[in-house]
Symmetry: C2
């Protein structure tokens, strides 16, 4: 059966009852807006939206459940980057009317599984016809304790730079099945004073200069220290993107305790010191565009 | 100049500095998530997302500023439906790389103007390439006092049904320049016990049965009482959709005070009693699908 035979009301009747809910949600999908309880006074609200488009972020033949998974996990990775907890998601699905309903069901299966993995409730959304490629936009709202949110801006000269996991080679399939580092990010934010953090969505070669620019510092990287994914080379680790690992800056005074406790807490997730932040004036060419030359 | 010549970083550098901000916003567009202050304990959070797609919700030749206006005002109309205050917006723009940059600038001009009209801050977003038509998805977060949110579900048998403004003929251009009834909705919610409310986005013939079904009641309409837009006929008022007026249910005990005070408060906005809610058993055919026969 195709979407056009089903119609919007019957599509919603299929999708809505399967959405998980909880007592934080006063009205979920189905009313004009979703209505949810506000967090306590000591919390800040985090907002993020992201989208994936057919033939740009995934291929038409990719497994729809994996595509749905990716659509949800991409914005959740930004919550990891801020040490925040995602809580509510809104999903916009733009799909041609000849899309098989089974494909939509599978996309939503992936979206639901990814949301459930981090206790995120899908509280609303929108569907629209299109004459073009399929696109999914996911907006997520969550919270972080007032004294625990981590921006890109707080990096200090002298800070050690750490990355989680292994970099490179995402296009081989990892980009469709990655798990955002929310658990690791919450833990490190609770136990250490992390000065600045970002998730590596566009690749170390793009995201590290972004963190450095936001922090108004320079950086140096030891390219031989980069943790490489199986089969990946240094160039892949720098330029492929879609790693969805964390990059963070922390005082060298915390280095030893961080490395020791991390190994105990996350024995399967490598944590690697890849470089340091410097005063901008100490780096020969401090401009963002040329931050990249320091990789060479 | 085309989008592909500009690139994402320069596009963002163009768009971000023009976004309005205020002291509720701790980190706006540019970090991994937007960070905003939570409302007080006596408030609930409202969440809504909506999208418009080229050749579905607007034509390629429509004025881009009007298209941006519509993209923002559609989800804001859902805040009106709940008597809530929209506060933060995230914008996802999916556009082919051959789009003229001037068109994007104008789309954002419309989005910004619409947001500014209701003090909504644009705190983040996403841009993506596509091989298909242009699409804009807008997600909005806002608040409502715990004792003041109005759902679709509370309509009671005997309630009067009121609509704001005039219905029909939206396709002639109104759908690109309407102003959501947020001010009127906040006022009526503050001064009256409104049992149920919805915004007329799909037309009275679709949205009234939705309100009745959610409230588990039947309804009758006086079709000769419907307030018609200039040039519109009864069929247009029922079926055209995109009116973005409010439909609400309120006790007949409040009718006189409502009509009198409304005229003083909003002399330019008609308020019309168009029908009543009934017990489901009192309506010959209580099924939703045939709710529509009561219009005939």
């Amino acid at each position: 059966m195709k979407l056009r035979q089903l119609g919007e009301d019957r599509l919603l009747a299929r999708l809505l009852p399967r959405l998980p809910s909880n007592r934080t949600i006063i009205a979920g999908a189905g009313d004009d807006c979703a209505v949810v309880r506000a967090p306590g006074e000591n919390k800040l609200i985090l907002l993020k939206t992201d989208c994936i488009v057919e033939n740009v972020h995934f291929r038409s033949r990719d497994n729809p459940a994996a595509v749905g998974w990716k659509a949800m996990m991409r914005p959740l990775s930004d919550f990891a980057a801020m040490s925040g907890l995602p809580q509510f998601a809104l999903i916009t699905l733009i799909a041609p009317r000849h899309t098989p309903v089974a494909k939509i069901d599978n996309l939503y299966r992936g979206l639901r599984r990814a949301a459930a993995r981090f206790d995120v409730s899908i509280v609303g959304g929108e569907t629209s016809d299109t004459r073009g490629p399929l696109a999914i936009s996911v907006s997520v709202v969550g919270f972080v304790e007032k004294d625990r949110w981590i921006s890109r801006r707080g990096g200090k000269p002298g800070d050690d730079l750490f990355v989680t996991g292994r970099l490179g080679g995402a296009a081989k399939g990892k980009h469709l099945r990655f798990v955002p580092r929310i658990v690791e990010s919450r833990w490190v934010g609770q136990n250490f004073r992390v000065h600045a953090m970002i998730d590596l969505s566009d690749g170390l070669g793009v995201d590290l200069p972004r963190l450095a620019k936001a922090s108004k510092v320079g950086f140096k990287i030891d390219i031989n220290a980069l943790p490489l994914a199986p089969g990946a080379k240094i160039d892949n680790a720098i330029s492929d993107g879609e790693d969805y690992e964390l990059l963070f800056a922390i005082s060298p005074r915390d280095r030893k305790r961080l490395e020791t406790t991390w190994r105990k807490k996350f024995p399967k997730v490598p944590l690697t010191r890849v470089g340091r932040l410097f005063p901008q004036s100490a780096i020969r060419n401090p401009k963002l565009a040329s931050g990249f030359v320091h990789f060479k």
